[in-house]
Symmetry: C2
Subunit: 160 residues, 2 copies
């Protein structure tokens, strides 16, 4: 297993879907995982320690773990099947280790709240790509999207 | 305490926010609670037993309760302060009863998944309004919204 960290949240400029970008601790390679907007929002709030008027569902999940006397040890991005990533929470209850399957987005949202390490399974390490290349690809795609979106209507606005 | 049930999900036609409508078991009076779109979606999915490709965050919360050997007994819509409703999950772990504060929306999303009773605290019962009246009010407000939204621009479209 390889330890990773949350490098940033980005927006796939092509699909407009949020991406959570995991990198190795040296920030050389990354594993981009496409996630939902709600989960992205929740991760961002936790990373930036933004105060929200009401606890989010992930805050409740953290509360459930704590109140039921569990201790989240780490999370693992455990596999990839048909384009979908899987993850698991490793929770210690007394002396027993309990593994709970979860989406990577939920797992990461909980991990950043409890400040526990995030690991990537062996089988996924080879899928990690160069961070700088990936970032430049996002920028290129951003440009592509702008061009694609320039429909005739938009030009029409500027016709006199 | 009074037992209630989820009567339906509705959309406030004025604010466009989702409402979860709790009613007494005879469907005479209701307590409308305004909730977020994500939570409304999650409650709807559970009520209609819709199969989703991936578990939602509330499915994970249910999993956490089960795997950590808790048993959700009931939920209580416990109070109202400055226009915000509060709720609590009552979870039994071995012989101990643990109360966990949560948003009503999260509590209801979890309760409908585990099919446990929902209660409303004494202090909130007097806030329950006639169900039929509330439903007709939603319709009236719907009309009001349509009229409010008819801005000059909209009429302008039909000018030749």
């Amino acid at each position: 297993m390889k330890q990773v960290k949350v490098y940033s949240l980005a927006l796939d400029s092509f699909t407009k879907a949020p991406i959570v970008l995991l990198t190795d601790l040296d920030e050389k390679t990354c594993l981009p995982i496409w996630i939902g907007i709600f989960e992205a929002n929740s991760i961002m709030i936790a990373l930036n320690k933004i105060k929200v008027p009401r606890p989010l569902t992930h805050d409740l999940a953290v509360n459930l773990i704590n109140k039921l006397e569990g201790q989240l040890e780490l999370i693992i991005i455990s596999g990839l099947k048909e384009g979908i990533y899987f993850a698991e929470l490793n929770i210690k209850v007394k002396d027993e280790l309990i593994k709970i399957d979860a989406r990577p987005s939920d797992s990461i949202a909980i991990a950043v709240r409890l400040d526990v390490p995030i690991f990537v399974n062996e089988t996924l390490i080879e899928l990690m790509v160069n961070l700088e290349e990936f970032k430049s690809k996002i920028v290129d795609e951003h440009l592509k999207t702008i061009l694609d979106n320039l429909r005739e209507d938009d030009f029409g606005k500027y016709k006199m």
